[in-house]
């Protein structure tokens, strides 16, 4: 990947009156990376994007693009281009005029602009559509025009504010792949804002998980999914079963937890928290539904959980088993569908088994809202 222009946020604070929208954010985004800010709505991710694009000034701290402090530089002077959530195409301009608006401002001739528009239309697979109005295109086509318009400005950094949220599911999935391809082709830095963990995981080189103005974790998708730092990151990204309890014993990188309802269980302490947690601490243990397997009946130990099956559903790629453990503790289990015959367990007691490295321990904290 070509070495693009990086973006750094240093001790960034953004306040609106008494409300703190972004609290001491420190992020280093490598040039040429596809970087996502992932978090629920209202977590401050769009605010960060607006600070990078120049539409609002940080209350404290710095935004650096390519190592240059951007303070006092307006959005029209920054090497960034923003794709808005609602795209904000100019409805009265033709597609080609929309795409080449940034060239028009620089004074390029109509024939130059037309030529560039045709090149970009080819790139986004809309050849010959330049003379239409945006309203004559479909949602996915408008999406691509917005990308072309932003790329035409030849930005060093492309900023995307949930641009896929208005599309239907199939198109959204298709556009994920397409966005990633475009990013790899042009080789510039993409900063992507989303509340959809699927989008963040599939497209990004690195992800920042945000909660209420705070960045909980910055890592690649696999790390965030498998080795979350906080209870919020563990519960927001993907599905997870949470077991609350107190740490009974620490054994190197593993710990034995006295859970509130499911007995003593063993877990791996998440990387960021190793050495920081001690016996007696309140903690949360997370086990993903797909990390469980159905064990032989009667098996027991500190990586087994017994539960009663409430109901089951077939989702295609997985069988979901909704169970109730000791004290009414709900546990979801997903068994991959390999085409095996699958017996119905409804009403039965089953024993669930997990491997220790799949149970991640983090300090007790706020969970993502369902």
């Amino acid at each position: 990947m070509s070495a693009g222009v990086g973006v750094d946020l240093e001790n960034l604070w953004i306040r609106f009156g008494d409300f703190v929208a972004v609290r001491d954010a420190n992020v280093n985004i490598n040039g040429g990376d596809f970087f996502s800010f992932l978090g629920p709505s209202g977590c401050g991710k769009t605010t960060i994007l607006r600070a990078v694009s120049g539409f609002l000034d940080p209350s404290e701290g710095k935004v650096l693009i390519g190592g240059n402090d951007m303070r006092g530089i307006g959005p029209n002077k920054r090497p960034t281009a923003l794709i808005f959530q609602n795209l904000a195409l100019f409805p009265l301009m033709k597609v080609w005029e929309n795409i080449t608006f940034s060239m028009e401002i620089k004074g390029a001739s109509a024939s130059q602009r037309r030529k560039r528009a045709d090149e970009l239309l080819d790139m986004i697979a809309l050849p010959g559509q330049g003379d239409k109005l945006p309203s004559e295109l479909s949602g996915g086509q408008r999406q691509r025009v917005a990308i072309a318009r932003a790329l035409c400005a030849e930005p060093d950094v492309l900023l995307l504010d949930e641009p896929l949220s208005a599309l239907d599911l199939k198109l959204r999935q298709h556009m994920r792949t397409e966005l990633r391809e475009i990013q790899q082709r042009v080789g510039i830095t993409f900063i992507y804002i989303t509340h959809d963990q699927g989008e963040a995981l599939t497209m990004s080189d690195n992800i920042a998980v945000m909660r209420a103005g705070v960045i909980d974790q910055i890592a690649d998708g696999k790390t965030i999914y498998n080795d979350p730092n906080t209870a919020f990151a563990a519960s927001f990204v993907g599905e997870n079963n949470v077991f609350r309890g107190k740490i009974k014993q620490i054994m190197g990188t593993e710990a034995l937890i006295a859970t509130n309802r499911s007995g003593d269980l063993v877990a791996r302490i998440s990387s960021a928290n190793q050495g920081k947690m001690k016996e007696g601490d309140e903690a949360m243990m997370f086990i993903r539904p797909e990390a469980f397997a159905i064990a032989a009946e009667g098996a027991s130990g500190n990586h087994f959980v017994t539960a009663r099956v409430n109901h089951e559903e077939f989702e295609g790629n997985v069988f979901n088993i909704f169970t109730e453990g000791e004290g009414g503790k709900e546990i979801k289990v997903s068994i991959p569908n390999h085409g095996q015959s699958f017996q119905d367990h409804t009403g039965q007691n089953i024993t669930l088994e997990y491997e220790t490295h799949n149970a991640v321990l983090v300090p007790a904290g706020e969970l993502a809202a369902e």
Binding site: F55, P75, N76, T80, R149
Partner: protein, 306 residues
Amino acid sequence: MPKFLKEFFNRNGTGMGLAILGLVLFWTIGLIILPQLSMLDFSFRPNLPPPEIGGPKDVYTLENYKYLIYGPEGGSQDYNSVDLRVFFRTLLAAVCVTIFNLIICYPIAYYLGQSKGSHIRIFAIMLIIPYWINEILRAFALRIIFGETGVLNTLFMGLGIWDTPFDFIRNDIALYAGLGYAYILLMIFPIYNVIESLDHNQIEAARDLGAPWWRIHWRVVIPYAKPGISSGCTMVFMLSAGALAAPQILGGPSSLWFTQLIYQQFNDNNDWPQGAAYAIVLLVTCILFVLAVMRLFKVNMGDIGK
């Protein structure tokens, strides 16, 4: 029955539909079209004393229109240069008032339309409330401000900016200010209405793509606001060209407005046919002028209704 009428009756029911239709027809035909037609009829008749109306002399004639162009028969000049000059000056002045109004009102309408918060409502009320005061009082208030011993002259002479009072009225400044002020709401609100519906992201998108502020207005806001701008300009132009109170009160002694001539014909000369002819000429010229300008700026009639 045409389809739209059928739909109209289906939606409103026959009774209510007939009532609405009746009122609308009464309004357009009874109150607008018929009186205007009778004016048109007047304008083609000679001014006769009552006993001769309907008599042999009561025939259709172009006399009244000829009078505007050539003046009285056997007059000293080839053309009615006095009245014609007033006519064209009125049109030109109405165009100037319209442009002047647009320049002042567009920024106000843009600000009102694109900012958020409750202060916008307060601003709007502050714009509207002065219009509760009637037009004549407002015009006299401006006379007090612009008069020889008025507020402005007192202020500037007090500050030593000039020594002798400046005659705002003789120089028509009071008139232009009065006409401009009389119709600012009619300019602001149509533009405000359109700009309010402009997605702010479009302005930000243009800015993000490198556009300076004037370019954003030129390429994004003004094209979008065009229906509102044309609606506002049309109303202000028509109403300024047809204004009577402001020119009467604020006009200098030498500057007649064409409407004042019409008024004189009707009232002072008691020559209704002549007045009607002048009024018809003013109306038709204004309509043609507006249509031509709309053509020039590629505005549809439907846009005016927005």
